[in-house]
Symmetry: C2
Subunit: 590 residues, 2 copies
Amino acid sequence: MYRSHNCGELRIEHVGQEVTLSGWMYANRDFGGMTFIDLRDRYGITQVVFNETEDKPLAEKASKLGREFVIQVVGKVRERSNKNPNRPTGEIEIEVKTLNILNQSKTPPFTIEDETDGGDDLRMKYRYLDLRRKPVQDNIIFRSKLSLEVRKYLNSQSFVEVETPFLIKSTPEGARDFVVPSRMNKGQFYALPQSPQTFKQILMVSGLDKYFQIVKCFRDEDLRADRQPEFTQIDCEMSFVTQEEILNTFEGLTKHLFKETLGLEMEDFPRMTYDEAMLRYGSDKPDVRFGMEFREINDLVKGQDFKVFDEAELVVGICCPGIADNYSNKDIKKLTEWMQRPQIGAKGLVYVKFGKDGSIKSSVGKFYDEEQLKKWGEHFGAKAGDMIFVLSGETDKTRKQLNELRLEMGRKMGLMKAGDFKPLWVVDFPLLEWDEESERFHAMHHPFTSPKKEDVERMLNGDHETMKALRADAYDLVINGVEIGGGSIRIHDRALQSRNFDLLGFTKEEAEAQFGFLLSAFEYGAPPHGGIAFGFDRLCSVMNNQNSIRDFIAFPKNNQGRDMMIDAPSPIDDEQLTELSIDVVKEEVV
Amino acid sequence: MYRSHNCGELRIEHVGQEVTLSGWMYANRDFGGMTFIDLRDRYGITQVVFNETEDKPLAEKASKLGREFVIQVVGKVRERSNKNPNRPTGEIEIEVKTLNILNQSKTPPFTIEDETDGGDDLRMKYRYLDLRRKPVQDNIIFRSKLSLEVRKYLNSQSFVEVETPFLIKSTPEGARDFVVPSRMNKGQFYALPQSPQTFKQILMVSGLDKYFQIVKCFRDEDLRADRQPEFTQIDCEMSFVTQEEILNTFEGLTKHLFKETLGLEMEDFPRMTYDEAMLRYGSDKPDVRFGMEFREINDLVKGQDFKVFDEAELVVGICCPGIADNYSNKDIKKLTEWMQRPQIGAKGLVYVKFGKDGSIKSSVGKFYDEEQLKKWGEHFGAKAGDMIFVLSGETDKTRKQLNELRLEMGRKMGLMKAGDFKPLWVVDFPLLEWDEESERFHAMHHPFTSPKKEDVERMLNGDHETMKALRADAYDLVINGVEIGGGSIRIHDRALQSRNFDLLGFTKEEAEAQFGFLLSAFEYGAPPHGGIAFGFDRLCSVMNNQNSIRDFIAFPKNNQGRDMMIDAPSPIDDEQLTELSIDVVKEEVV
């Protein structure tokens, strides 16, 4: 037996007991003939003491232990004279009689502390040491707890967890698939699922009624910040449901998770249509922890010889409370430059300052007199001390830019408070998105999403322009400006699904080759159904006020899709290639 | 709202309520101006009634509904005059006022009944219909419940569920990997994990202490009966543990699962060493639901001029109680032929019948007189009416053959009773297995398994013959002759692990290339650790007295690794191949 207790559980009531502990040498201090060691495991830290006067060889052995050595100690629990109130075990210590070195350790390449001196690459290469750090370990344990609560809740709601296959069929539509050559079927490939979408719909056709799965999904995308080639979804589908019932079920789940893991009671989630979200925030995932909503001021600004505004499709701004008097020209210049970076692409930034002293200053003071600017102020509800920023141009672009500005100001003004969770359902997304470049429609959610009931007729018989206006029973859950999940009511009718594939530019043959099994399934009594999927990694990070999903994944990959610890991917044997009937194409040297 | 209740929940106390139900048209009967329909969903079947005299058009519409149509009915719950005690809803029926056809159905290619007329191929192609059948749906729901209970139990024991990556590194050792070409790292490949073995050990090095995961694993093997290229494991690992603690933990888990899902209280599991299992049953996974244990009779049979026995390394038999008088010469001939098939390869089969009348008959009566045969009988504990079968030859082969015979007789004699669960721990497996053909050692469990403490010294310094005798802290859980899981205490010392790689024929370079990260990790304070993995598909099938895992997997593949429903694997676009820098090698036409 390696231990009688773990390093986090001994308390004052254990005093006098002989115990055995095992763990890592976290820190040691020599102090007046005594060696104190902090022994660490997942559960906590316990102080163990070696007394030179009692057992000199033992104390010497102890004083020579290196950081991260794995040791076992046997000894008596005693009350500490110098208690540590910040540590659950801080009232006691172990008076060691026996010390076993279970394993040695080289000096770690970075410190195993909450704040480490290790850079990202080093931490990833030695992930096994990084995972010893409490903040990372806490994240992984949080994730485990959260997944169990998801399962408990959904089970309590009669959901069945079903494992769908990982070796499926490649569907070129959408993101790129990872593919897997089949040895037994030469020249053929499996694909790893981007999501279990078609399978969960098939499960509804099969009468499973309520399905869920916490499941890995795969996308071979160029990895932008904080994307992973493999990620985890809470994937769900329900039969005989309306959008309303799905929203209520998953609002219930979300409340349960916040309550059970963070102890937070959440109020009912507000809902907002996609159109309204775009109008008020210029985003389909607004952060509603703070206001500074958009105000459109076309009516107030046109016809005053300010060409920029006169020619703009949209003139729109936000009002930032209380910053007018401490926002210098330099600040404004910096902000304008930030907005003009190619990532955002604003042409300029108009401001109006309403000083605490009643003064009004604006970058467009030449064109608009104080009376007019006051009217702007009224329209924005600006008070003395507030500052308005205005952008103008083509509607979609301008909204996008102003959304960036609003978020940036929210950050700067400290309005995105950690621990303040503001969920929002965004509903009634457009069904289709017209892509000017490829001159075709894309599915806004995915090709299985149903138009709203009242739009079905128009979808089946309408013209091209009509299609742009179709609305879907599609919804996103947004928390603090982060899209946690999204879903839709699905099409369950073969004819309507075929029409959707037509609109999305599939030939009949392509649709049949890729989704023939689903279209067939729809002919054998498919029930009305719909579902949702939550990004599980993202949910973990948002609930912990963190921006990156990486530290909620035990073994993440870097931006080149590499696992730095195991050094994958890597070349494989020629023999393996031969068995799989594939060849690697060598790059041509020009 | 599609339904106020599901099809399984209405009872006598709901009589008088107006309800809305949705489901599938399972069966209909026209009967004296009434149409009775059995409406089915996952939760049950409810009878709904249409009365011609009350609403003729409605009744006519109902009588025209086809099998598996999806319908919604609104009506009043009333007490049935003709109750069905076999159905939980059998006391009530719905007097329908409104009928909506939600979707139509073509006639299914096979009947949606407990016993269907669909063959395997048809069932797999239309798996969505097959999954509507109650026995298959029950299996899938059982699996979900079982997985939740696994998680609840292991969480209650402080295990953390950690998701390990699916895109890892190919290790040619062991079974064949499925590989995934990397687009971003040309000419390089990920592999899908055969198990999370190295990652779970890394998690122990990282101090997670207790890890588990219910996880998909992948093996590109030629699919023999009832193997799947993707399968699911309950994968676990613990730090600072001995074999004893692991066995107790997972015996606790197993008992919990049987209790919570089947309502069965299990007694403590017996344990048996590998050597003893081979001696008594000729198998490392004996079915101990019945006796008929092996008796070795070398001492009794040698030197009586029966050459076959005289030359044999081992003469061994079993005693089948009570069958002597009804086992005809024809039966014996058939059994002998069965044993002589190439799959088993016995040369012959010796029997001795102890008739109820005291007579003794034997196929080797020429060589052994009645007195001698009586002694055999005593040795076997044979009573009047029993029959002994004896095999001889090289020890390992003969044991294997007799194991097959014992199981066959167990089946024939009805001794493998469904619902009779007999678990067994088999412990102390050999560490290494000598392969005559390749003239090298294989790891009996896997290359990370630790020798028993008392064998470490011999392993580090012993000669070739010594290696064959090494015993490992390795164990299997066997239930009813099926290996449910296996595990071991792992090596946590770099030097010992290197020695093991040497013995297994890895060069230093190969070991470093494939497992360098693990060897490195062992240098930074790896704790003693060990673990186990259960085959989850197998556990499901054994707990339900079924031989095949296939119907506990929602979407299984066939023996060619194909998913018949979605028709995968399949060719992919040339564009995809180009992006991945791979080519398909065309078969040469000779």
